[in-house]
């Protein structure tokens, strides 16, 4: 009677030896593709055509050249595009709505374009790639005298050269 538990014990402890070597994976043979004829190599321009992100204007509050959160988000995406297209340069136009005096608005448009440029430069875009110009209130996109129109005119517009 004393022997039986010993036997059971030894059976319980016995480790199973598992064969751990991986089985060879059988690869399906890929169909052999025919090599295409060699075409003459065409040198394409070193940047993609300006994306929608560069065509979007950024907007400002009245009498301000500071960048709203929406403007900053847009500039982040523009910086990405400029990074991916290192040969591209851009002109930043600063614009105002018609309510101020035109001399003051020339200066305000300049500040708006410069603030956009400074933001991009801080993100690492070479400032030499960006030029600024102010059109003041002289080139509105919207002619009506309404806050809706004025808001559309208070903008920086990018032209990729």
């Amino acid at each position: 009677m004393f022997v039986v538990p010993g036997l059971m014990f030894s059976v319980g402890c016995q480790k199973k030896m598992v064969d751990a070597t991986p089985e060879p994976v059988v690869k399906e043979e890929e169909p052999v593709k025919e090599e295409p004829k060699e075409e003459p190599v065409v040198v394409t321009p070193t940047y993609k055509t300006p994306d929608i992100v560069m065509q979007e204007d950024i907007y400002y509050d009245f009498d301000k050249s500071t960048l709203t959160p929406a403007a900053q988000d847009n500039l982040l995406r523009k910086a990405e595009w400029l990074r991916e297209n290192p040969a591209a340069t851009a002109t930043i136009e600063g614009h105002c709505d018609e309510r101020g005096t035109n001399e003051y608005n020339l200066a305000l448009g300049d500040r708006r374009a410069e603030s956009a440029k400074a933001f991009l430069a801080d993100l690492g875009i070479d400032a030499a790639r960006l030029t600024t110009i102010s059109y003041g209130e002289e080139r509105p996109v919207c002619p009506q005298q309404s806050e809706e129109c004025w808001a559309k005119n208070r903008r920086s517009h990018f032209i990729v050269n």
Binding site: D63, R99, G100, T101, N102, E103, Y104, A107, R111, E114
Partner: protein, 175 residues
């Protein structure tokens, strides 16, 4: 005004464009300078206080004092050749710009145009009796002239397009 330092500041230049010295250095934009008749001071627009206001600065000492306190958008100052007043464009509560004249010493202010569109860019005649300015009271911006007290306002001319920012010549053509 030049902005190559990163902020829009006023500089003193020779007639051929060489910079003699930088006149302003406060944070904020400084623009539209106009000389006093004796050449010792100049008035200019600055938004250093948070809104566009007119200041007077002494060239030698560099000290500036604020001149306008009414309204929050006062621009385009023009110093009268008589030295006592400065004309400028002031935006009212209705959003319109009107020509105002302020006494340099007493800071008493008088509005010369009203209820006639936007009136901007004033410039004095050499004898200080008339002011030429632009107004869009008839639609497109045209040049008008009036007395220094705002009377007898009449249109000077009407050309194609818009006319703005007149400057009265100081030259005497009658000799």
């Amino acid at each position: 005004t030049l902005s190559f330092s990163g902020d829009q500041e006023i500089y003193l230049l020779t007639g051929s464009g060489k910079i003699i010295k930088r006149l302003t250095s406060m944070r904020g934009s400084d623009l539209s300078p106009t000389w006093s008749p004796d050449g010792k001071k100049f008035a200019f627009v600055s938004n250093r206080s948070g809104s566009a206001q007119i200041y007077i600065q002494d060239v030698a000492s560099g000290k500036a004092r604020r001149l306008t306190y009414e309204g929050n958008y006062n621009t385009q100052p023009s110093w009268s050749p008589l030295g006592d007043k400065i004309a400028f464009a002031s935006q009212g509560a209705d959003g319109r710009h009107n020509i105002n004249v302020i006494d340099v010493e007493s800071q008493e202010q008088l509005q010369l145009t009203q209820e006639a569109g936007d009136n901007e860019g004033p410039s004095w005649s050499p004898d200080g009796s008339l002011i030429v300015f632009s107004s869009n009271r008839e639609g497109p911006s045209r040049l008008y002239v009036m007395t220094a007290f705002g009377t007898d306002q009449r249109r000077l001319l009407a050309m194609k397009g818009e006319q703005t920012n007149p400057k009265w010549s100081m030259n005497d053509f009658t000799n």
